[in-house]
Symmetry: C2
Subunit: 342 residues, 2 copies
């Protein structure tokens, strides 16, 4: 298939388009008894398991911008988003289903690229694409994604399990996805303003880490695998999709407690700091309110922190669960702090 | 809440909107351990079960027209569509998740009406609304729906299980959903043409059966319940969503067989015939190619037909599974027949 082919979907019809998608189904998962092709997919477990289900919607112009998002990256990212929700229950993802509403302006080849990204993500996460729905749309591409996963019922970790005195931890770094988005938006603007000039080429290599984090984020399956191998189990777990403050608030509120966060401890990558500087923006805002980092926040008893560090080392301590009355207290160091209402 | 209130969603925010939805979650299903509120819903079964999952996408302007579709009907219909897919596996639906992308032009009250319809459907089908995603949209309402259900793995019925000589049956009647759509489209056109006149009132009472079938179709849970109580089990099962011919073709092709259908036996309601006459259209086209009837097609061994009729009586025989070479043969009576390629 030549890369420059533009074949309209009505030329081949939705039935043949779906046949093409069937070649991009990721890993054959052993729990999947039936994938694409019947009224519903079928998952069978030998032993009774808890089944976790999540669904998300992504709209062109709201959640993604196809002027700077390659279709395969978009496919990868939507799978990451759903898988991350399953992992955040301490369950292992098994299948994903994709609902696509496609406007005329996109070609068969573009949609195949999207499914190549879905396929790549399914392979990375060890899951199978088992179904979905493909239909026409008027103007904008709409993508919905559903994932299910399984765990023994007593292994699930909810967001409401944090205990008084537990230590609050976060994986990786925060704010880089938003930093990447800021760079992409700036370059798009520069490109639009220079349309008369033919030679505009965005130079993104200095921002590669942040841009990659925005366009093709990875779900933290490594944390869940480490928890399975460790004899320490977090008391609560949530993934960072809305933004750190939102997720911290959700853990505290649903656990019926307060939380104190030491803000200088929140992990921020150097590149994220540099981008915030370039934009004349406060990098703490990126880290606290920027969404789509797909990192994990978890709480564990204080005595387990060092021990767990030897099982999994890509996390830092950022705070502690407190009495409810302290709400969400942000301690900025130098004896300054402020409270956010839960 | 006054019916004429128009409150914009940004006035209350998505978080409070979702809180409102939490009061419309249908039945509390015993298998649901966690519903709305965590990263994913949780289903737990005491014994190992097969889990069936389906997802569908509905777009304003493509799949529904809000000029004649009340929001509560839309909510009911999207649940029906997903539940029907689960039932068509001979599984019982347990949960539904809704993904909504909402443009500015719709109010908080309208979205609550939509969820009232979701709630009503969940109660009728005995299932629980357990989650979803709610987000902004640019112009058009987009709804995605995911349902899961369960059955003992050896009770599932696939579309590919039909055997040579099996009898092809269909529940209810066909083509009425399309007939209802034709009436609604005609009334919409009349309304648009009479906009200068203030008194236009569509008169739909003569078409109530077809219009209801289009706007608030019911999934055939009664058939699945009857199968469970009967000692007869269909060899294949599929729901009629794309249109009868499409579903029959799917059963035949996936079962590696052909099929002969006696077209005068296809059940068509009198009102559907009357509407087709008014429109100067061929009612067989409605019945064969009209989608969204949500009736069930199933195959059973010839010797079981009479026996099953005593367990469940709302079906008729329309054909028989044949050798593959006969493809999909439509016998129109009077010794005339034609073949459709599978």
């Amino acid at each position: 298939m030549a890369e420059d082919t533009f074949q309209q979907i009505h030329e081949i019809g939705f039935k043949r388009l779906i046949d093409k998608f069937k070649t991009h189904t990721g890993t054959e998962h052993p729990a999947v008894r039936r994938g694409i092709g019947d009224d519903a997919s079928v998952i069978v477990h030998e032993e009774a398991s808890a089944i976790c289900t999540t669904t998300e919607v992504f709209l062109e112009g709201v959640h993604f911008d196809l002027t700077y998002t390659p279709f395969n990256y978009l496919g990868y990212k939507i799978v990451t988003a759903a898988v991350s929700d399953i992992l955040a229950m301490n369950a292992l993802p098994e299948q994903v289903l994709i609902g696509l509403a496609i406007p005329n302006k996109y070609s068969v080849q573009m949609m195949e690229d999207l499914y190549r990204g879905v396929d790549a993500a399914c392979r990375d996460y060890g899951i199978q694409l088992t179904g979905g729905d493909t239909t026409a749309s008027h103007q904008l591409l709409s993508v919905s994604v559903t994932a299910t996963g399984a765990a023994p019922a007593d292994k699930l970790i909810y967001r409401d399990g944090a205990q008084l005195g537990d230590i609050v931890c976060v994986t990786g770094d925060l704010g880089s996805a938003l930093a990447g988005l800021r760079v992409l938006m700036r370059e798009k603007k520069a490109w639009q303003e220079s349309r008369s000039e033919s030679q505009f080429q965005p130079d993104l290599h200095e921002y590669e880490f942040a841009v990659q984090k925005q366009l093709v984020p990875k779900a933290r399956k490594d944390l869940i695998e480490s928890i399975a191998e460790s004899d320490i189990r977090p008391t609560s777990l949530i993934d960072v999709t809305q933004g750190l403050i939102s997720e911290l608030g959700s853990v505290a509120k649903s656990s019926g407690l307060g939380m104190e966060v030491y803000s200088p401890a929140v992990p921020i990558a150097l590149e994220t700091r540099r981008i915030a500087d370039e934009m004349n923006e406060d990098v703490d805002k990126y880290a606290f309110y920027g969404g789509e980092d797909f990192e994990m926040v978890f709480t564990i008893p204080e005595e387990s922190v060092e021990k767990f560090k030897s099982d999994f080392d890509d996390f830092v301590v950022i705070g502690r669960m407190t009495e409810k009355e302290k709400q969400l207290t942000i301690n900025t160091g130098e004896d300054k702090s402020y409270q956010l209402e839960l």
